[in-house]
C-alpha cells in the first residue's frame, strides 16, 4: 500500500485490515508509537491489545492477531512511501484456551524463515512431530485467516457484506 506521505501509506494499509477485522469483532486495533510516521522502523499492529478475542459461535473459539510492518520509500514518485509486512502471527484457540493452530511468519527472528503453520494440542492430535513441526505455507493474509474463522470455525460474521470485504483487499497482500 503506497501513499504520498508515510501517514497516508499507513492509512491505506490499515484501512482494509480494520474493515476485515470488523467482519468478526469490534475489538480495537493498536499500533506502536510512531506507527504512522516513522520510516524504516519496525512497527507492531495487534488486535485487542494482543489478548485473545472471544469470537462466539458454536465452537467457542478465540483468536489472536498480530503483525509487524515497516514504512519504506517507494519508487513511485507520486506515492513515494509504502508499507511492507515484516511478519505475522495468527492463532486460533479452543473454548478452554488450548491452541488449535497458528499461522506464523517471522523471518527476522529464529531460523525458520518461511511462512508456516503450527498444529497444536487443541486439534486433539498427540504426535510430537506434528506439534513441533513448522508446516510450510504461502503467505497468509489477515483476510484469509478471518475467512477461515467464519467458514470453518463457524464464527458469526458481524456484517452482511463480509465476503466482499474480505475479497477486496487481498490483492494488496498478494502483490508483496
Amino acid at each position: 500500500m503506497a501513499g504520498r506521505t508515510p501517514r497516508q501509506a499507513v492509512e491505506n494499509y490499515l484501512d482494509p485490515i480494520r474493515k476485515s477485522i470488523g467482519c468478526i469483532t469490534p475489538a480495537y486495533v493498536t499500533h506502536s508509537k510512531g506507527g504512522r510516521d516513522l520510516v524504516g522502523h519496525q512497527h507492531s499492529l495487534v488486535v485487542n491489545g494482543g489478548d485473545p478475542i472471544m469470537l462466539g459461535g458454536p465452537a467457542g473459539v478465540s483468536a489472536e492477531l498480530s503483525q509487524l510492518y515497516e514504512i519504506i520509500p517507494a519508487e513511485n514518485t507520486r506515492s513515494p512511501y509504502k508499507v511492507r509486512t515484516l511478519g505475522y502471527m495468527y492463532t486460533i484457540r479452543d473454548h478452554v484456551d488450548r491452541e488449535i493452530l497458528g499461522y506464523h511468519w517471522h523471518p527476522a527472528e529464529g531460523n525458520i524463515l518461511w511462512p508456516h503453520l503450527h498444529l497444536k494440542h487443541g486439534i486433539g492430535a498427540r504426535r510430537r512431530e506434528v506439534e513441533k513441526a513448522h508446516l510450510p505455507t504461502g503467505r497468509v493474509a489477515i483476510e484469509d485467516f478471518i475467512r477461515l474463522l467464519i467458514l470453518s470455525f463457524e464464527v458469526p460474521p458481524h456484517r452482511p457484506d463480509w465476503e466482499e470485504i474480505l475479497a477486496g483487499p487481498q490483492e494488496r497482500f498478494e502483490r508483496w
Binding site: 490499515l14 480494520r18 474493515k19 477485522i21 470488523g22 469483532t25 469490534p26 475489538a27 480495537y28 486495533v29 493498536t30 499500533h31 506502536s32 508509537k33 506507527g35 504512522r36 522502523h41 519496525q42 512497527h43 507492531s44 495487534v46 488486535v47 491489545g49 494482543g50 489478548d51 498480530s66 503483525q67 509487524l68 511478519g87 502471527m89 506464523h104 517471522h106 527472528e109 529464529g110 458481524h158 456484517r159 452482511p160 457484506d161
Partner: protein, 70 residues
C-alpha cells in the same frame, strides 16, 4: 442514518499506543506467556537466551510486541 453508515461504525478503531501503554502491553504479554517482567524479557531476548530453548516459541510471540517499547 443509512444502512451503509451503520456498517461503517462497526469497523474497529485504530489506536496509536503511547510509550506507557506499550510497556503495559509488553509487560502483560511477557508475564502471561513467560512469567517474566517486560524488562526481564528484553534482557533475556537481547542476550539470546531464548534461542533453541524450550521457551523459544513463546519468546517469539512476545517479540511481536517489542516495537511497542522500541
Amino acid at each position: 442514518m443509512s444502512a451503509e453508515s451503520t456498517i461503517e461504525t462497526l469497523d474497529p478503531l485504530v489506536h496509536e499506543a503511547t510509550r506507557e501503554e506499550g510497556w503495559e502491553i509488553l509487560e502483560r504479554q511477557a508475564r502471561k506467556r513467560l512469567r517474566l517482567s517486560a524488562q526481564e524479557y528484553i534482557d533475556r531476548w537481547d542476550s539470546g537466551e531464548f534461542v533453541n530453548g524450550e521457551e523459544h516459541s513463546e519468546a517469539l510471540r512476545v517479540a511481536m510486541f517489542l516495537p511497542f517499547v522500541r
